[in-house]
Symmetry: C2
Subunit: 199 residues, 2 copies
């Protein structure tokens, strides 16, 4: 039972990956890149430290272009992040060998988040099962599980070296002469997993 898990190297997607292994799945981590930066390497490092298989899936740069335009038009990144996330899930789900797709989205997330019709649509269009191990967990539960499992580094998004697609989105905004700080929330903390707390 192999599952392809969208992975950023952060604590949520790492916790979701761990839960999948506990349920008996063989987990393959997939990090999305647009080829603009090589920040996918931080996800690979985390994956290797945690002992997971890892691959990079390149998405067309046009997806990132369109996301950047959405973020500029909206003045905030929510729709852009949602758009990239959906494209990433669709790209994984469309690989012929893939029967199960998963991610680390949480109950309390506003974006990225697939509502029930979108989740079912993803499953139906691509003939996959879409698994979200964190969807039924609140922040307290996620905190107690991650604190027990991982050594985590938490920093403001602008400072943290991470494989989230937010990093390439910020980069593209800068390339377009836009300061990402005008679009992204000022104090937005991100996490990166450095390893297991204990094995």
């Amino acid at each position: 039972m192999k599952v392809y898990h969208l992975y950023s190297g952060g604590k949520d997607s790492s916790l979701a990956a761990w839960i999948l292994t506990r349920l008996g799945y063989e987990v393959r981590l997939v990090t999305v890149s647009f080829g603009l930066l090589d920040n996918w390497r931080y996800a690979r490092e985390a994956a290797q430290t945690l002992g997971f298989e890892h691959e990079v899936l390149y998405l067309p740069r046009g997806v990132l272009e369109k996301a950047a335009e959405m973020a500029i038009k909206d003045g905030h990144p929510n729709n852009a992040i949602q758009f990239i996330h959906e494209k990433a899930l669709e790209a994984i789900a469309s690989m012929p060998e893939v029967e199960r797709v998963s991610d680390g989205t949480r109950r309390d997330d506003r974006v990225p988040f697939l509502d029930l019709p979108k989740a079912r649509s993803l499953e139906d269009r691509f003939g996959v099962a879409y698994i979200r191990p964190l969807l039924g967990l609140g922040y307290k539960t996620i905190r107690e599980l991650t604190e027990g499992l991982f050594v985590v580094e938490i920093r403001e998004s602008e400072e943290l070296q991470k494989a989230d697609y937010e990093v390439e989105l910020r980069h593209m905004l800068r390339e377009k002469g836009i300061d990402p700080l005008e679009i992204f929330p000022k104090r937005h903390y991100q996490s990166r997993v450095l390893g297991w707390r204990e094995k």
Copy 2:
């Protein structure tokens, strides 16, 4: 990390209990009864077969009375089931020793189901974490996991001897001279776990 898990003896609540143990929780199963019937015994049997601690929590019969009135007024059981489920979660969450409450509700369930504001309200009012291990799983994933884990008996609701509070609701409707088949869907399948497929 002890969690009190609302348990009917069916495959969903059994799968959720198993997932909780895989996440490192100490799981105590709780079956709700109104003292009308002793069908909680089917949940206890399943709990013992699976090796879980189990207790029965009696709710005031007035809750079932009110649910029966709702079902009769509505002509279908959805609001009644939802009402009982919320009262059951609140009763567990209000026990002084309880820090975590869980159930086996699924992504694809219409009732019983707590939407995000209701889930957060339960957590905030009682100072608990509310955990739903199946919320991020679709029917395919639930099927492949339960088929691998449990021997399950599946029958129409009217025939199956089970600890679901639906059974006492049907009984109370009959006591009021109402045929439950006029209110519950005609072909509504329920499951009961008979044991582990293999240990």
